[in-house]
């Protein structure tokens, strides 16, 4: 707290040399926010003391720093967009923004940014809004350490936690998002980074990419969403160090890749998902050093992709490691650890001497005829699988790991 106060004092001191600070609160000249912003000029700081402010739509159309002390509450009365930012170089920090309006035509948000650059949205608490934070045509914006909570019941009744549209060079860092439609949604957003966010219990996706090229997301946690992450119609996405847990359900995937190319999936953890990764029309994807553990399906690879490389991953205790829907295989699966591998290693180079076929006959059968899942682990099925491993007839014979590892990689 002392550091925080001294930080504010420092800001006041520095700012006062060339700009002024306007206080809003009971004991100050301004008791409401809108007139205070009207009185401010570019470069000023507006500091709001803790309290309850219900002023309809608050528009920030100047380059100001807008600070809350002691988490003042700004309420949209379920009718208005709460804070609208229409200027560049704006900082919004330390507010509780709640109860925005609901309208599917103009998508009101808790904090919405229109056509601006270098906007910073920091340390806010967004409670029960239609959209949490909405960036429209933003550039170089920073969205950091916000908590976003909504209580959506159905997809069409709730907006996204952080929604970014037609933007560039955004940083989305350390946010905690719950109960929205998509945790984070990117559409036509380029050159952006999503880092250290936690996206839990959202109705649709934890993170959703549409037409968003050259982005990266690192070290995020996606748990118990309708599906963890969906990356669609996109190229050059880097996905590293993320955790995908408990995305359960028929159409639920840890990571859904649809029509995506030239991307890199490295060092992620997929645990307890119905399907860890689903690749549909995915090409030139490199899947490296990931952990697939206790999933229903490790990877579901549709036959319409090509040149994917799956290497140096650990596949442990999945019901099915890999499944596919066709016979065409244009991807490689060399150098992974499969806990079902039963081969030997005579020359002790830690690489199995016998190739491994990760595609079990039964996974093909289940793909064609899902109710066959009922027969899983029955003696018949085990027998079929064993004989297919020795003499592949129904499964594509080039679906093979030529250099399976004898020991799991230390991931």
């Amino acid at each position: 707290m002392r550091i925080f106060l001294s930080y504010i004092l420092l800001i006041c001191f520095v700012q006062s040399t060339y700009s002024k600070t306007i206080w809003v609160g009971k004991n100050h000249k301004f008791s409401s926010i809108t007139p205070a912003i009207k009185a401010a000029e570019n470069g000023d700081t507006v500091i709001v003391e803790s309290g309850f402010y219900k002023e309809g739509n608050i528009v920030i159309d100047k380059s100001i720093t807008f600070l809350g002390v002691g988490m003042p509450i700004i309420d949209g009365d379920r009718k208005f967009e709460v804070i609208t930012i229409r200027a560049s170089y704006v900082t919004v920090k330390g507010f509780q923004v709640q109860h925005s309006g609901y309208a599917t035509l103009d998508d009101p948000g808790g904090i919405k940014v229109y056509n601006s650059k270098h906007v910073q949205i920091l340390d806010n608490y967004l409670y029960d809004n239609f959209f949490g934070i909405y960036i429209q045509q933003g550039k170089h914006c920073l969205i950091k350490n916000n908590r976003i909570i909504a209580f959506g019941k159905a997809e069409q009744e709730i907006g996204n936690g952080i929604h970014c549209w037609k933007s560039d060079s955004l940083l989305v860092i350390g946010n905690h998002i719950t109960g929205n439609r998509d945790g984070i949604y990117f559409e036509f957003v380029t050159n952006s980074v999503i880092w250290r966010n936690v996206s839990v219990n959202n109705i649709r996706y934890g993170l959703h990419f549409m037409f968003s090229h050259n982005d990266a997301y690192f070290t995020n946690i996606f748990k118990n969403n309708g599906a963890g992450v969906a990356v669609m119609y996109t190229k050059n996405v880097t996905m590293m160090n993320n955790t995908f847990i408990e995305n359960w359900g028929d159409a639920a995937y840890g990571l859904l890749l649809k029509e995506i190319s030239d991307s890199y999936i490295y060092n992620n953890r997929f645990v307890n998902n119905t399907s860890a990764i689903f690749l549909d029309g995915a090409s030139r994807i490199r899947v490296e050093k990931n952990l697939f553990k206790s999933n229903g399906w490790g990877m579901k690879i549709q036959a319409n992709g090509m040149d994917n490389v799956v290497t140096q991953n650990n596949f442990i205790r999945n019901t099915f490691d890999i499944s596919t829907n066709g016979t065409l295989v244009l991807s490689t699966f060399d150098g992974n650890y499969w806990d079902r591998y039963e081969g030997y290693d005579l020359d002790k180079d830690r690489i199995g001497d016998v190739p491994y076929r990760p595609l079990s006959l039964f996974s093909v059968i289940v793909e064609i005829n899902p109710p066959a899942m009922l027969l899983y682990r029955s003696f018949m099925v085990t027998l079929l699988d064993k004989s297919e491993r020795i003499l592949p007839s129904l499964t594509p014979d080039n679906f093979i790991d030529n250099t399976p590892l004898m020991r799991p990689l230390p991931l």
């Binding site: 359900g249 028929d250 229903g296 005829n369 027969l375």
Partner: protein, 255 residues
């Protein structure tokens, strides 16, 4: 009655085959758990034992034992004892020794290595499967006097439930794949005790895959307390019905 049960159990112990069976189960279970790096794989090996070996041993041993004790049964019927009591005592003695064999052989390592809920479910299912096949053996031993035929029927029953039934279901699944048969499949599994046992265990082992579309239907049925109780009830019926049929036959039979 208690004395007859005691006598049957003592006779089985003297026979030593059930002791050897217990020992084999124990060796297999302990080695399965200590050889594999994770307990999950050990559980899988044990699952295969429950689904294949336990039914085979139960059904064969019981059938042969019943045929071999034909003279003993004849002797007992000459005494003032009701036939129902003789048959019940014989069943109780055999059921008791087979389930004790499973409990001591496979149950102890399960409780030591696997997690508690799973091991409770596996042990109870293993015991139920043993009892089901003891009961089926009573059925096949009662329908014919011919020992070779009776044992043949037993082996056939085992083959049918352990292997053929799944093949038939798979065949049906492909023939009827254009129809919504998921719910019907739940009913069909009830007509094989081994499948019932397998699915009950599957719902605990492969929970992630079972959350998928069809899995969800099974999960919805068998995963709830009602579904579980229904499944256990069905297994109990699989014990009761063949035994009661055999009892009816035995009561009227000309020995």
């Amino acid at each position: 009655m208690i004395r007859i049960i005691k006598f049957v159990i003592l006779d089985i112990i003297k026979n030593r085959i059930v002791l050897a069976y217990t020992l084999l189960l124990a060796i297999f279970a302990w080695s399965a758990f200590s050889l594999e790096d994770t307990s999950a794989k050990g559980v899988l090996s044990l699952l295969n034992i429950i689904l294949l070996t336990v039914p085979l041993v139960s059904v064969l041993f019981t059938t042969i034992y019943i045929y071999n004790s034909a003279e003993f049964v004849e002797l007992l019927t000459s005494q003032p004892i009701k036939r129902t009591k003789i048959w019940i005592s014989l069943f109780a003695g055999l059921a008791c020794s087979m389930s004790m064999a499973f409990l001591l052989g496979a149950g102890i390592p399960l409780f030591v290595y696997a997690e508690t809920t799973l091991s409770i479910i596996m042990v109870s299912i293993g015991i139920l499967v043993s009892l089901v096949f003891v009961s089926l053996a009573f059925f096949s031993a009662s329908i014919t006097r011919d020992k070779a035929k009776g044992i043949g029927v037993s082996i056939m029953l085992w083959l049918y439930f352990a292997l053929l039934f799944d093949a038939l279901v798979l065949f049906l699944l492909f023939q009827l794949s254009d129809y919504p048969i998921e719910k019907m499949m739940v009913g069909i599994t009830a007509s094989s005790p081994i499948d019932l046992a397998r699915i009950l265990i599957l719902l605990h082992l492969d929970v992630s895959a079972m959350m998928g579309y069809t899995g969800a239907i099974f999960k919805k049925f068998f995963g709830t307390t009602t579904g579980m109780s229904i499944a256990f009830l069905l297994l109990t019926l699989w014990i009761a019905i063949p035994y009661l049929i055999s009892l009816r036959i035995f009561r009227k039979k000309d020995l």
